[in-house]
């Protein structure tokens, strides 16, 4: 049943939200259904609540984080649920008359229901995490509601501010919740609430308390976070009436009540909560006096009343708790009705500015009376509900324990706040309904539609009923709620309206008198209408946000300056740092033995070193650098030859050729020289970094290669011939042991071809230099190159076939095929080649990959893992037995991909055409 209660608003929100804008009436009916149905369900559950047992339901959700859909309806929750649903019902009714034709009714009501559901969820949550979830949901949905009139700047700002402040509180709540969970070992409310002493004794308690209080204070607009609330008044009035009387802002004090058993009882709690409450009480009330906007006045009044409630919970005596709960109810009723009245006035006059209003009792007598009664309740005038809870407050204020300063301070604050409350209530009534006016309004006000008034009437009647006959009306509710907070500690209290001429009563009277005097005193002393009140909190907030954004932008631009040079230098430096740090605490040991240097190695070494340095020195003249780098490549290849790696040498040589060709092809579209770099400092810095990197790499390499190594390669060597079927172990590794690498490698190669294809197919680029005149046919080289081609094909095939046993293999062979074809491109031109060699290279790449893939899959048929190679000897007539390793077929795939990939790259680079509409650089 609790689940249903919770689900109704959400489901209906979804339904209502999907209605088209013009379906205003159905939307209102459906939306109204939610609170009404909820109230019915709540009523059905009332007996269980009253009996003190409460209702519970549990649905596992995310047990791993201690978050379950645990719902729990005790007295407190019941009271709040009633408040949320009851006032919610009235708000829906009110809103359906309030919104005008331009506003999307379904959307508004959907948001409202969403919010209602969130509130409801929060109050009946039986799990702290779940409570936090709904807590944040109220922030989110209130964002949508406050910003509903989003064409207005103040609405947008107000919404964002409310979200930021209450969202921040919600985040703090998460922290608090986790700490509570850590202390008690559970997030279940039943457990947490029963662990009060344990929590108070925990070293984590202060942190948990502060975090939870942050949530409470932000949500309930306590000092110094109160400033968001007045700005939330940019919302449509039904929203204000709902959020700022009964629901949103009450969430904070609800949490205070909810966690009272777990958190209250320490000095810290007392001083923090009651201190903040007292300050807020005064600050809010004082500011309320000087508002000109009806809703602004009500907003500050709300802040003040929330301060009062907070203060009461801070006092923590059972009686104070009861008073707090009582005031929650009372405030909700009178404040909601006042907001609605303000909305009606706004609706009828087009303004909420009290400086332009006045004398409205004449034109809106009925609404006026209602509003005046509610204001009196707000002022704490006897026979109205506000009086009762205020008197309880005075009683408690007198019984404050603790430091003397605190005792007197709170008692004084109570009287003072009472006076302020009277003053602003007076202002509300006086400036609106009496005196001159209204002025400068462009419409004729008259009483609002019948149904728009009904909610106000109901609420005002409640104010009266409670004020006159509390025992008959509110007593059971309060009792249940108090039981929810205090358990068996509910004190005896009397809800009678008359307790005799005791001190609290005298305080009430004093406050009343002082308030009246204050109001009229102020009017006489200063030009109240001239006071322009500006929210310092808001200004501070906006300045802070703007400043934060500005600083963030500056910092970001500073860090990410779009310079690749910086990004790369950072990477090099990071590598240097992490490479060097280990040696700070231990030395790099050069322990091993070196082999003597063969004479030939000196040559290779010398060529390599000299050419490398020369490449750097000459790098700005690019063609030159390229030629010199050719010598580096040669030296590296020779080093491979010398050090027993013939396959590597071959590959390096061939790749070198293709690379040079590619670089030259690109160089045609790049400047011939690198522009000089202006900063000498940077070059020196880079040189130092480069030397450090080189030195580090070399030292580490030397230290490693002079020590012995126990490598898996010994097994590979042993297995290569008997099980891999080849005596060129490198090739056996490539196509068999680590054939999977090769599969990836040829994929990379093929993709590179595709990427180049994709980037250049439609590209038109203007070459850097263009020699005039038609291209030279280069007859002589051409003739030779064509003669060479079939021979090169033969060599390529040869290298391919023997690769498994001797240096060679698919990759090398593929390049040996590609390089002579490249030569044909160079000598015969692109057009000529495309006419004659118009292969669909991407497709050949695909075929090669397919072959490689299928070879591997072939072993599945035999029940072996992918790429298990199978060597078989096929008897061919005349030729005898030929070895047919599946690895060979795989190598064909490699061959195809490499040849097609490199030709695709070269061909695409070659085929680039100049732009259609010339245009010089």
């Amino acid at each position: 049943m609790l689940g249903l209660l919770l689900a109704i608003p959400f489901v209906l929100a979804l339904v209502v939200g999907m209605l088209p804008d013009r379906q205003r009436r159905p939307a209102a009916w459906l939306a109204g259904l939610a609170p009404v149905a909820g109230l019915v369900l709540l009523a059905l559950m009332t007996p269980d609540v009253m009996s003190g047992e409460g209702v519970r339901s549990l649905l596992p959700w995310i047990p791993a984080m201690g978050l379950d859909l645990s719902l729990r309806l005790d007295g407190l929750a019941w009271m709040f649920a009633g408040l949320v649903l009851g006032i919610g019902a009235l708000i829906v009714l009110y809103a359906s008359y309030y919104l005008d034709a331009n506003d999307s009714m379904p959307r508004f009501l959907a948001f409202l229901l969403l919010f209602m559901g969130a509130m409801l969820g929060m109050v009946i949550a039986g799990n702290l995490v779940l409570l936090a979830v709904f807590w944040e949901l109220t922030s989110i949905s209130s964002f949508l509601l406050i910003g509903f009139w989003n064409h207005r700047q103040d609405a947008r700002d107000g919404a964002r501010m409310a979200l930021a402040i209450t969202g921040a509180g919600g985040l703090a709540l998460l922290g608090g919740v986790i700490l509570l969970g850590r202390i008690t070992g559970s997030y279940e409310l039943d457990v947490v609430l029963a662990s009060g002493p344990q929590i108070l004794a925990s070293p984590l308690y202060p942190y948990a308390l502060v975090l939870v209080l942050l949530a409470v204070f932000t949500k309930s607009a306590q000092f110094p976070f109160q400033f968001w609330l007045p700005h939330a008044m940019a919302a449509p009035t039904p929203v204000s009436a709902y959020l700022h009387s009964a629901t949103m802002v009450k969430a904070g004090v609800f949490l205070l009540a909810r966690l009272h058993p777990a958190l209250a009882g320490s000095d810290l709690f007392f001083y923090l909560v009651s201190g903040v409450g007292a300050i807020t009480l005064l600050v809010g009330a004082w500011h309320a006096i000087f508002q000109h906007d009806l809703k602004g006045l009500l907003a500050y009044s709300t802040i003040s009343h929330l301060g009062l409630i907070t203060l009461l919970f801070g006092l923590s005596t059972p009686m104070a708790v009861v008073a707090g709960l009582f005031h929650i109810l009372n405030h909700a009723t009178f404040k909601a009705s006042l907001f609605m009245a303000a909305g009606i006035i706004d609706h009828e006059t087009g303004t909420r500015d009290m400086r332009r209003l006045g004398g409205l009792l004449r034109v809106l007598p009925y609404t006026g009376i209602l509003a005046i009664i509610a204001s009196l309740a707000m002022a704490g005038v006897p026979l109205l509900n506000g009086f009762l809870s205020k008197e309880m407050f005075f009683t408690e204020a007198l019984e404050v324990r603790g430091h003397m300063f605190m005792r007197w301070g709170i008692a004084g604050a109570a009287v003072l706040a009472g006076a302020f409350g009277v003053a602003y209530s007076l202002r509300f009534v006086h400036d609106t309904f009496f005196g001159d006016g209204p002025v400068r309004i462009d419409r004729t006000p008259h009483e609002p539609p019948r149904f728009m008034r009904i909610p106000v009437e109901i609420l005002v009647i409640l104010c009266l009923a409670v004020g006159i006959a509390p025992a008959l009306t509110i007593a059971p509710v309060l009792q249940a709620a108090a039981q929810g907070v205090l358990g068996d500690n509910v004190p005896y209290y009397s809800l009678s309206i008359w307790h005799g001429f005791n001190t609290p009563f005298m305080m009430s009277l004093a406050g009343l008198a002082a308030g009246i005097a204050l109001y009229f005193g102020i009017r006489r002393l200063i030009d109240l209408y001239g006071v322009s009140y500006d929210s310092r909190g808001r200004r501070l907030y906006e300045w802070k946000v703007a400043e934060a954004v500005r600083l963030a932008g500056k910092l970001t631009a500073r860090l990410e300056n779009g310079s690749l040079q910086r990004y790369l230098v950072l990477m090099v430096l990071s590598a240097l740092a992490l490479g060097i740090v280990p040696f700070l605490s231990s030395d790099l040991v050069f322990s091993g033995r070196s082999q003597p240097m063969p004479p030939l190695a000196w040559l290779v070494w010398g060529i390599g070193m000299v050419a490398t340095v020369a490449t750097v020195v000459l790098h700005r003249r690019r063609l030159l650098a390229l030629v010199v780098m050719g010598a580096v490549g040669l030296a590296v290849s020779l080093a491979f030859v010398l050090l027993s790696a013939p396959d590597l040498a071959l590959t390096q040589l061939l790749v070198e050729m293709v690379t040079i060709a590619l670089m030259l092809l690109s160089l045609n579209y790049l400047p011939a020289e690198s522009a000089p770099e202006p900063s000498r400092l940077r070059r020196w810095r880079d040189a130092v970094i480069a030397l450090a990197a080189g030195g580090g790499v070399a030292a580490l390499a030397y230290a490693i290669i002079t020590r012995p190594l126990d490598t898996v390669a010994s097994q590979i060597l042993a297995l290569s011939l008997p099980e891999g079927g080849g005596s060129n172990v490198v090739n056996v590794i490539l196509v068999d042991f680590r054939g999977f690498d090769t599969l990836g490698e040829i994929a990379v190669f093929g993709i590179a071809g595709l990427v180049v294809h994709a980037m250049l197919r439609r590209a038109r680029m203007l070459p850097e230099r263009r020699v005039e005149g038609s291209p030279d046919p280069l007859v002589i080289p051409n003739t030779v190159a064509r003669l060479l081609l079939p021979l090169a094909l033969a060599v390529s095939l040869y290298l391919f076939l023997r690769g498994h046993n001797l240096p060679g293999g698919g990759f090398i062979a593929g390049l040996v095929l590609a390089v002579p074809v490249l030569l044909q491109y160079v000598l015969s031109g692109n057009e000529y080649m495309e006419q004659r060699l118009g292969f669909d290279y991407p497709r050949v790449i695909g075929l090669g990959l397919l072959l490689a893939l299928l070879t591997g899959v072939g072993s599945w048929v035999l029940g072996y893992p992918y790429m298990t190679s199978h060597t078989d000897y096929v008897a061919v007539p005349l030729l005898g037995k030929l070895p047919m390793a599946s690895a060979l077929v795989f190598d064909i795939g490699v061959y195809l991909v490499v040849a097609a990939g490199s030709l695709l790259m070269l061909g695409m680079m070659a085929a680039v055409r100049p732009p259609l509409h010339g245009g010089a650089r």
Partner: protein, 89 residues
């Protein structure tokens, strides 16, 4: 005797390569350097063959063949670039 001549021959080729390197670095023109690189490759072929002879190993052969057959590709491509600016037209 053979060993000695082998060593002398290799030394000669090594020296030749050093001279090539000198030209490669000195220039002055790009064609000079291309020529130097080309010669470096050619001398390398001989060096590889000699090394194979010395180590009685055939593994150097492939590299030698490939350089002989395709080593001039670099020369052609670079020269073509100097001649036309665009190596494939």
């Amino acid at each position: 005797m053979i060993q000695t001549s082998l060593n002398i021959a290799m030394g000669a080729f090594a020296l030749a390569m050093v001279l090539n390197l000198y030209r490669l670095l000195r220039g002055p023109g790009i064609p000079d350097r291309i020529l130097a690189l080309d010669t470096l490759y050619v001398n390398t072929i001989a060096l590889l063959v000699l090394a194979g002879l010395r180590d009685t190993s055939t593994i150097y052969f492939e590299a030698a063949v490939v350089i002989a057959m395709l080593g001039f590709v670099g020369t052609i491509v670079l020269s073509k670039f100097v001649i036309r600016g665009d190596i494939v037209e």
